[in-house]
């Protein structure tokens, strides 16, 4: 039978509006096109185009040697990436869901993060592990988790999470082109939202945060889907005459201490907002960095608004687990009243 060739679904990098799903797809297309050593693989990423369709059309365009399905085994997928990297390839594996990264933690922590160190630099590990992450889509158990603190704690890894389509494009280009392993956390809840902004080359160094809304009364620090949430909260605050700055951290390792400090100098108050549970979450790390580097600029203790120390709950309870607008506003009020 003759199969009709169709042009794969893709985002046109020059178009003015994209979803994050399209932007990441476009970034992978750019990366596959620019470097023949780049390989995209994982469960269902080939014919299906990934469970979130992020790899849609890539196999049709680049062939099943460069974009391929693997058996269902996360540790094997990451182990495969290590061997491919040792043979000169630039692997971009996808683990289907955050909760299924746990079976691969041994390979990620014991092998990916350490092979460069163990080999004294002889074996580079230019692996970018794409991980659909966080909650907000009422998914089943293990399909919504926040692993940033776990991975940020591991020497040898770098960790980032984009908050909007254009930045997702830039961050992925930067992650894959880097010669170190990067865990790239894709906020599932933001896959489908479109926003304007051409897809352009990275303009900030690895580790740089960015101020996505300026304000003078307090800084909200967030990443991933929480950035959009904090922008909404900032609109509420503005109705009350409170001007909140929103800092999109982008990189969770390394953390942009200079960017944090600069924002605290402007506002004197910090509220960290993350989905992950409170205890030993990155909010604690950020609070520590702020008090170490900007103690005298602080007008109030750093506040943390996070998920609770419970497993991510099932769908109907998710809105009560994730930081809502009122909890962030209350934390802001505490800093204003201190």
């Amino acid at each position: 039978m003759t199969e009709l060739a169709t042009t794969p679904a893709s985002a046109d990098a020059t178009a003015s509006e994209h979803s994050m799903q399209q932007a990441i797809n476009a970034a992978l297309r750019t990366l596959l096109a620019e470097d023949p050593a780049t390989l995209v693989f994982g469960e269902d990423v080939g014919r299906l185009g990934g469970v979130f369709r992020v790899t849609d059309g890539l196999q049709a365009e680049f062939g099943d040697q460069r974009v391929f399905d693997t058996p269902l085994a996360e540790s094997g997928i990451v182990g495969l990436a290590v061997g491919l990297a040792m043979n000169g390839w630039r692997p971009v594996p996808e683990l289907q869901f955050d909760g299924f990264a746990y079976p691969a933690v041994d390979q990620i922590v014991n092998q990916v993060a350490r092979m460069h160190y163990r080999s004294r630099g002889a074996a580079p590990m230019p692996i970018t592990l794409r991980l659909p992450s966080f909650g907000g889509i009422q998914a089943p158990e293990h399909h919504g988790e926040s692993l940033e603190a776990l991975f940020a704690h591991v020497p040898g890894l770098k960790v980032c999470s984009p908050s909007d389509p254009a930045d997702a494009y830039r961050l992925l280009l930067q992650s894959v082109r880097a010669d170190d392993p990067v865990v790239y956390l894709e906020p599932k809840a933001r896959y489908w939202n479109r926003s304007p902004g051409a897809l352009t080359e990275p303009d900030l160094p690895i580790g740089a945060s960015r101020v996505v809304r300026e304000g003078r009364h307090a800084t909200l620090v967030a990443w991933g889907a929480m950035v959009h949430h904090c922008l909404r909260v900032a609109e509420f605050a503005a109705e009350d005459g409170v001007e909140l700055e929103v800092l999109d951290l982008r990189w969770l390792k390394p953390i942009d201490t200079a960017g944090l400090t600069a924002s605290v100098r402007r506002t004197g108050r910090v509220v960290v907002v993350h989905e992950a549970p409170l205890t030993a979450g990155l909010g604690g790390e950020i609070a520590a960095l702020v008090q170490e580097h900007a103690f005298r600029d602080l007008r109030a203790p750093v506040q943390r608004v996070t998920g609770f120390d419970v497993p991510y709950p099932a769908g109907p309870l998710e809105p009560q687990y994730l930081p809502n607008a009122d909890r962030v506003l209350l934390a802001v009020q505490r800093t204003l009243e201190f």
Binding site: L39, Q65, R66, T70, P71, A73, S75, G76, V78, G79, L80, A81, V82, G83, L84, A85, M86, N87, G88, W89, P91, P103, D106, Q107, N110, Q111, M115, H116, Y117, R118, S119, R120, G121, A122, A123, P124, P155, G156, K158, A178, D179, D180, I206, G207, K253, P254, I255, T257
Partner: protein, 345 residues
């Protein structure tokens, strides 16, 4: 009580290998045996904090490694593959530096040596071999990968995932299991369901070969056949070499707590070096002069390696920071400065 698994055959066969090759295999086995002895001594002298002996497994390691194409193939060891390192010409001072605890992965270049870093996560490197082999095939290169693991590691999920991946992808890889009968203190009977690791190949769509791991020629032939098959596009093979860990698991282990010394004695009867020496003499491939000469040369080399590894300087503390990233983070640079200011003397 477990049933001890012993490979059949009393003497090693000479097969079709040239006498010169047979003598080389013997020399590698002897070098590994003598260096192993030196390493055990170094541990007792306080130079190595610990050491894992490969005594008894020389034929399995040398026979498999000698079958590799040194230009194109790549080996993924665990931590007991000294004889593989000897055969592949790895810098042995750099290799033993790992056991001197100077650097976990050793101080040799794993990429240039085509012998990956020592790895203490047993089973962990096995998927690396599959990835390397897949990468080689994608590139159209001629190389094959060989993954070393033991009967204990065969229980690890990674080994099963790796075999399944290799079966699915048809990757040019040899899964080389040294079944030395004991996973630390646990015998095969309590470790390997079904009793055969080679038999697992069938479930992953690849041939499984059991070979007498004390017979260096048999191991060489089996590995060469698997590599030829892989190189020709025939996909992976699992080889189970039946051998024996004559010594305890490590210099910190007490095998007397879990196994009968008589078993060790029985296996010493099947010492791979003894078998090979007898075969060389039987077939008149080597005379007394050869054995005297090769022992002298190997001993001199072992002494050189022993002496050099003993006096290697400890690594600079800066090295802790040097290799974490290719592009170090600002925070790590800061911590490096803290180390310089507050720790370095």
């Amino acid at each position: 009580m477990h049933a001890e698994k012993t490979a059949q055959g009393i003497e090693t066969g000479a097969g079709t290998l040239a006498p010169e090759t047979l003598r080389t295999l013997y020399r590698h086995m002897l070098a590994a045996r003598m260096l192993d002895g030196e390493a055990i001594a170094l541990q007792r002298q306080g130079v190595f904090p610990a050491y894992v002996s490969l005594h008894g497994q020389e034929a399995a390691q040398v026979g498999s490694a000698a079958a590799l194409d040194p230009e194109h193939d790549f080996a993924f060891p665990t931590y007991r593959e000294l004889a593989v390192a000897v055969t592949m010409g790895v810098d042995l001072v750099g290799y033993l530096a790992s056991h001197r605890a100077l650097w976990h992965g050793g101080l040799y270049d794993p990429i240039a040596s085509r012998f990956s870093c020592l790895n203490a996560v047993v089973g962990g490197p096995v998927p690396h071999a599959v990835g390397w082999a897949l990468g080689e095939r994608l590139r159209g290169g001629p190389g094959c990968a060989i993954a070393y693991f033991g009967d204990g590691a065969s229980s690890e999920g990674d080994v099963h995932e790796a075999m399944n991946f290799a079966g699915v992808f048809g990757s040019p890889v040899v899964f080389f299991c040294q079944n030395n009968q004991w996973a630390l203190s646990v015998p095969n009977s309590a470790q390997v369901a079904g009793g055969s690791i080679a038999a697992r190949g069938a479930g992953y769509g690849m041939p499984g070969v059991t070979v007498d791991g004390q017979d260096v020629v048999a191991v060489f032939e089996a590995t060469r056949a698997a590599l030829e098959r892989a190189r020709a596009g025939g996909g992976p093979t699992v080889i189970e070499a039946l051998t024996y860990r004559v010594n305890p698991h490590s210099t910190s282990d007490d095998a007397g707590r879990y196994r009968d010394p008589a078993e060790e004695l029985r296996w010493r009867e099947r010492d791979p070096l003894l078998l090979m020496r007898r075969a060389l003499e039987r077939d008149k491939h080597a005379n007394a002069d050869f054995f005297t000469d090769v022992e002298d040369r190997v001993r001199a080399e072992c002494v050189r390696v022993r002496d050099e590894v003993s006096v290697l300087p400890p690594p600079d503390g800066s090295d802790m920071f040097a290799h974490v990233y290719r592009e170090p983070t600002e925070e790590l640079r800061r911590q490096h400065r803290v180390w310089r200011d507050e720790v370095e003397q």
